[in-house]
């Protein structure tokens, strides 16, 4: 075999083995475990923290208010839908307080008149005309509207 071909062949062998070495070193262990992706990433995503802990975590302390709410028009609402994510409050209830939204705009997000809101689904008012001088919660208890 001529020398130049030998050199070419050697270079080829070096390149291919370098590629295989790099591929082996750089491919994550769990790649291809279930398919053409890194299998461990599923467990990593599944381990992310939960922020909205659900009504069941509120009951142990706020049972009276939840009972009141469960008999009202707002029975289907989750506590955190209005009060925000409770994960910090559950860890340290004394220091981490949840928000108590009381603005007309906040109630209006559901209850202001909009033709797109199905009439049967929700009670709607014109928040510009309906007692504009005071907040909704002066008359309506949000847990027993």
């Amino acid at each position: 075999m001529p020398l130049h071909l030998k050199r070419l062949l050697m270079t080829g062998v070096v390149i291919v083995s370098l590629f295989l070495l790099l591929k082996h070193a750089l491919t994550p262990d769990s790649f291809g475990q279930y398919g053409h992706y890194r299998g461990n990433s599923m467990a990593e995503i599944a381990a992310l923290p939960v922020h909205y802990t659900g009504n069941s975590s509120c009951v142990s302390c706020h049972d009276t208010i939840i009972t009141m709410k469960s008999e009202s028009y707002h029975s289907d609402l989750s506590c955190e839908g209005c009060h925000g994510a409770a994960y910090k409050h559950i860890a340290s209830p004394k220091t981490e307080k949840l928000m108590k939204p009381d603005s007309r705009e906040f109630c209006g997000k559901c209850h202001s008149i909009n033709l797109a809101r199905p009439e049967k689904a929700i009670v709607q008012v014109n928040i510009k005309d309906h007692h504009p001088e005071k907040n909704c919660i002066k008359c309506h208890n949000p847990h027993q509207p």
């Binding site: 992706y37 990433s41 995503i45 289907d76 955190e80 559901c110 033709l115 199905p118 689904a121």
Partner: protein
């Protein structure tokens, strides 16, 4: 020695034309492709097969789903990044269509068009369709986005190279480029909650229970009943994405 027939001979022409015509006639007897329920049939034999259902007749456009999604999943608060958002469609009496989604609906909707000009208006909550045969997965050059056995489309943020090809491939605009992580981010159907036995945050907090998710394999699940009893439709069925987000009362104007 026989003479080899050229491909342009009269005999070959009639033969090929006959084959083509016969194939066409045979193909016309095949059942039509059912894009809407294509992905709803049992695709996972080992466990659940997740789907999503949204009832437009129940959506009041409060934007709680979009708000809770951002907090639950640490989505940037700027109004360009959404995993889940709400659009208001308004069809005016003159036939024009207007679609608005101010901050994804998080701050609520105010009706800008006078009521007397409106023919019809409704809210359409949107999120990842978790397609079976999803186009976003097909285009990923490195295998950073994938579909789990349960039918949930996920992104491996450690493996994504940020080429944004999947953002272009998604016909529903459900992916965005994370401004800090410099990788693509999308709805995981709250994979971290589902694996802990909880519902996705947007569905737990929806005040009218307009959105549900669940196991399509289980004929008694709420979503299976939803699909059986309602007139369901998916977005862009002509693209054959295998969307598993089923809408009740979806207008054809919705894109």
């Amino acid at each position: 020695m026989t003479e080899k027939k050229t491909s342009l001979s009269r005999r070959n022409f009639f033969k090929n034309a006959g084959i083509a015509a016969g194939t066409l006639v045979a193909a016309s007897t095949l059942p039509a492709f059912d894009a809407v329920l294509f992905a709803a049939v049992k695709r996972n034999t080992k466990g659940p097969w997740y789907g999503i259902a949204i009832d437009i007749e129940k959506c009041i456009g409060c934007g709680t789903c979009a708000k809770t999604c951002k907090i639950e999943n640490n989505v940037p608060q700027e109004p360009f990044f959404f995993r889940s958002w709400v659009e208001q469609y308004t069809i005016k009496k003159d036939g024009t269509l207007k679609v608005v989604s101010p901050n994804g609906g998080i701050d609520g909707f105010t009706q800008s068009i006078p009521a007397e000009e409106i023919e019809k208006t409704f809210f359409v909550p949107k999120m990842c369709n978790h397609c079976y045969k999803s186009p976003c997965i097909q285009v990923c050059p490195v295998g950073a986005t994938y579909e789990t056995d349960e039918g949930i489309v996920l992104v491996d943020e450690k493996y994504c190279i940020g080429c944004k090809y999947c953002i272009q491939a998604c016909p529903y605009g459900c992916r965005y480029f994370h401004p800090d992580k410099h990788v693509v981010d999308k709805c995981t159907l709250c994979f971290h909650r589902i694996k802990k036995g909880l519902n996705p945050a947007c569905m737990d907090n929806c005040p009218t229970k307009a959105r549900i998710s669940g196991d399509l394999n289980d004929p008694q699940s709420a979503i299976s009943k939803f699909i059986r009893t309602k007139n369901v439709y998916v977005l862009k069925p002509h693209l054959n994405t295998g969307s598993k987000l089923y809408y009740n009362a979806l207008n054809q104007e919705v894109r």
